[in-house]
Symmetry: D2
Subunit: 338 residues, 4 copies
């Protein structure tokens, strides 16, 4: 922690700060400059989390030096984490998993049909919403437990790992009993109760980045899960909100590269939500892979004109198969496999 | 709903769309222009919520005409709603309530001291967090039920209405048994399960705007509460995230005026979070009031240097009293009272 | 300047940095912490502007301590600057000037009519565009010099100070010969050649904030003008771009308060562009004044349905007169005068 | 153009609008819905650019149907444009040009050294700033004409096409006499006088996207150049401003794909500015190429520790050569060549 003092800070004010930080067990180092005086604080910075030095008289600003996350950081663990879901699928490995499926689970038959098609094209996991976070209370809210049953049955039938979104702390146990991985959606990235609750299950968690979250906030949310003892977190870049209105969101390709530098956790991408337009999902998916992404989640529907949600961004099974062929070539060019 | 067709749309494609919308019970009106053809759809637009016309062949874009919220809109209710909390405090009236208190409840004694001071300065309600949404799992997370007990006791003692944040559907009942109003924080604005759960209680709900939410999304979240039958919602502008790093957030003064045009619900402001710097809280509070704000929520702490959270943005009781004197003059200038 | 080292920085790397900064005439202070080592640099920071210490081996980050602007800062000049345009109008004084007029100058007769009306309502300066920055090359681009002549004649007739936008270095001399103040528009806030060119004239300059500029960047642009010796700069908050689509821009009320803390220059607001909707211009204008704004610029047109530009945000003369009555009351409540 | 009326619009108001648009030569089509009435306008929409129908009594909103750009659109020209700079380099072709070089031209010797290295690694064009847009008036502003002379000499010596930024209308002729391509920087994307001036030269123009510009605004700025008769425009995505502070800007990969759908012009990327950190330039460059980018511009410096500007984001020649090898593999995977 570094404390920068105002030019007009008095000796009494400086002494007051020194007394305070020493009482907190920190060792101060003063550098007196021509224009500014600076105090460097050595010791357990955590002690300062409840003491707002910013408002001490004479203080201009306080600059943290240590990153606020620990368990998720590269400093805590140098090598890449590989999150294994089952014996066929793992994130962070040379083999890059592709999760595909409809936005919402609509029927057993529909889910089976799509699962068969994405499996044939090379997907290794199945997505599908049973509890849907919808902006409007009047929109389709998902099939609930019925949908989870379809998910489990279809996943088993096709040998696909399964993932679905959890939105309510009260649903964690139920959902955990049906699927292989939890998804925390962008809107719940800072639903801290929910992060703790999925943490306790020790199942893999795909943690989507909040729509306007910084990388630091995203990693702090992952830290909530890791701090419960569950290290099975896969970060998922799903597009951030920008001024652009041509696309639903903006895929932040930089964030994939930065998150992988800062953290040992695998980082995947969701090009469907990150674009919101099926016509550019392919470009975004290729880019995410080329930038080092450790997984992809892509919406596929065989009749998007009748999809209950997100039809605009769903690929037809045929287009998905074509994209998988392109992705295999890009994967090879960056020493990965799909 | 208006459907704009691509210049190259074929007759067969147009017919396919006409068939579809007629099947949904809508009446289409075609206007054939030199460059573009447009189809206006008359009838129940809700029918289209699960049909993504955007991806029908030949369609360029689809433009909704009706606003997606109903119960919160001015069209539903012309006159301003007045949300009465008890016989001394109401939002949306000529008298503008000021809610004040510490960010976190830290102790019974501390809360009593601050409550006495803000009451003396003219506040009519007391704020204080018992369950705190903190970015870091290692930060102070609140006193929980113990804090609620302090809140209830102190509110009673000073005749102040009480408000605290609820973050978890499982806590709604407990919190509701202690305080007069719920607060839904910015991070939970789209926690739809929580919105429904507080809706069911029929207690007043202060709904903070999400950190990067549009006004429409904010009103849609209010619609979730109203759709449960609970019309006691007070919208609270608490600052949005922008590129500015000098302030924690940016008070969106336009949003206060626009939300009051679009909706009959009262709109208040939280200048403490909207600025994050105690030195400009006063300017922001005066501005919110001058722009038509129906209430203010201001953080006050008598020892911000030792506050467990948000010390940087808390006013000292003396500064708060001074601000209240300024606010009374501004209120009068816009025909309100504080 | 503070240099934070990586945990794994070697002694050789540290020595390399120490050598470099000492060669630049700076005095380093090392604080060795348990996790991180920090080097504080004392001396002329300007020496570091061309040396990217960030990329020296072993460096994690570099944190500047001094603000990058000098002449515009409160540290350079403690008391508020008052920018006098002529003997009747000054910015930064108790009396708050209101600049009003049409977006574009359309005709001599039209300008005269509007000028008479805004003068009667209490405006002290006249605005009007002769060279218009339009997003489309096919939109009306302004009357050019003809418009400047109308401006000069009408300003003289009604005793109103005049202001118009300059967009091209080649037009500075011409425009300066007709009007009392230059306006630098948001799109040109970082047109550094233009800033220098208007600086050389020593006429008052209204410097609008760029659409996504930080306060620091805005002040740096003002520094360009001041560094030529022209201290007559009035900062103008005109709304920033945010995600909100209900309004054209978002008035950043915090920025008015912060800019006045950081700088001695007067800070005014343009509620017309900051909202883009005439129905909320009044709320925004009252807010800007209540927050401490030192001036207002408001678009007025007596036939907005036929205005060549920005009709959506122009007030009718009658509405403007009503707003001026409201503003007088708010001004009084904050110890100003209109 | 579609005009949506308020529910309470009167017949007289509707008639007033119909009269107006018919006078403008447009043919109205009315659709009367249960809740809303809509008027579709057929005919030359340009006529409406100076008539703000939004503020006609009874109007709720006005929705444009045609895109505001013409010459840059895919509707104007279906096939991709190939912009040829000389007989060895063209943008929009199977072969993807890579422009490399230092941020600023610092000396003849330095430029020669770097040019030789990037040429050897496979670059086909040389970049380097002679007139630098710097946020601070106290930072290095470039060598001016001296730098242009170095550029011309070195480009000739190594057979590299040359590009440099132009910031002032008065410099267009001078710069055009030394280099092969103009660059319009992000800060000047809406410097409309400058766009027209470079248009007149008919030289190729690399048009960088403004830091918070929408794709539509970017294309409108290109339209300014094309409307002068100069069709040699290459769009360059260089990162947009977002909330992220870990990176200088955010590469908008979606924008590359969308701009290529909307326009026939080639779209390149500048991963150096789009990230601001040399450690992730490679990931961003690979992503831009995989997404369909038609060119890359990369900063290279052989002694970034002493670079006059942007040292943080410059690659060392060795790293650049390594990246070129990676890019060749990715190019091949998407059927391009580098």
């Amino acid at each position: 922690m570094i404390v920068v003092l105002k030019s007009e800070a008095t000796e009494a004010q400086i002494q007051h700060i020194l007394d305070k930080v020493q009482k907190l067990g920190l060792k101060p180092h003063i550098s007196r400059g021509v224009e500014k005086t600076i105090i460097g604080l050595i010791g357990p910075e955590d002690a300062l989390q409840v003491t707002p030095l910013e408002i001490y008289p004479g203080v201009e600003k306080v600059i943290p030096v240590l990153s606020p996350y620990r368990l998720v950081s590269r400093e805590f663990k140098k090598e890449n984490s590989v999150i294994r879901v089952n014996d066929r699928i793992a994130f962070g490995d040379k083999q890059v998993p592709v999760i595909a499926g409809p936005c919402s689970i609509e029927s057993l038959e529909g889910l089976r049909r799509i699962a068969g098609q994405v499996k044939a094209a090379g997907a290794t996991a199945l997505r599908g919403g049973a509890f849907k976070p919808r902006t409007s209370p009047y929109d389709f809210q998902g099939l609930g437990e019925e949908g989870l049953k379809y998910m489990q049955a279809v996943g088993k039938e096709f040998g696909l790992a399964t993932v679905t979104e959890v939105m309510d702390t009260r649903d964690v146990e139920l959902i955990g009993s049906y699927v292989d991985m939890f998804q925390i959606g962008a809107r719940n990235m800072q639903n801290f109760s929910l992060l703790r609750e999925v943490g306790k299950t020790h199942k893999p968690v795909i943690l989507k980045r909040g729509i306007s979250a910084t990388i630091k906030e995203w990693l702090m949310s992952a830290e909530y899960v890791l701090s419960t003892g569950n290290f099975n977190v896969i970060l998922c870049e799903r597009g951030i909100r920008t001024f652009e209105t041509e696309t639903r969101n903006t895929l932040d390709i930089n964030a994939i590269a930065v998150a992988k530098q800062k953290s040992h956790l695998p980082v995947m991408a969701d090009p469907s939500h990150a674009t919101g337009r099926w016509g550019i999902v392919g470009a975004a998916a290729r880019a995410a892979l080329a930038a080092g992404g450790d997984g992809l989640m892509i919406e596929v529907h065989d009749n998007p004109q009748e999809a209950f949600s997100d039809g605009e961004q769903s690929l037809l099974p045929g287009n998905f198969a074509g994209l998988m062929r392109e992705l295999r070539r890009v994967a090879e060019a960056v020493d990965r496999r799909i």
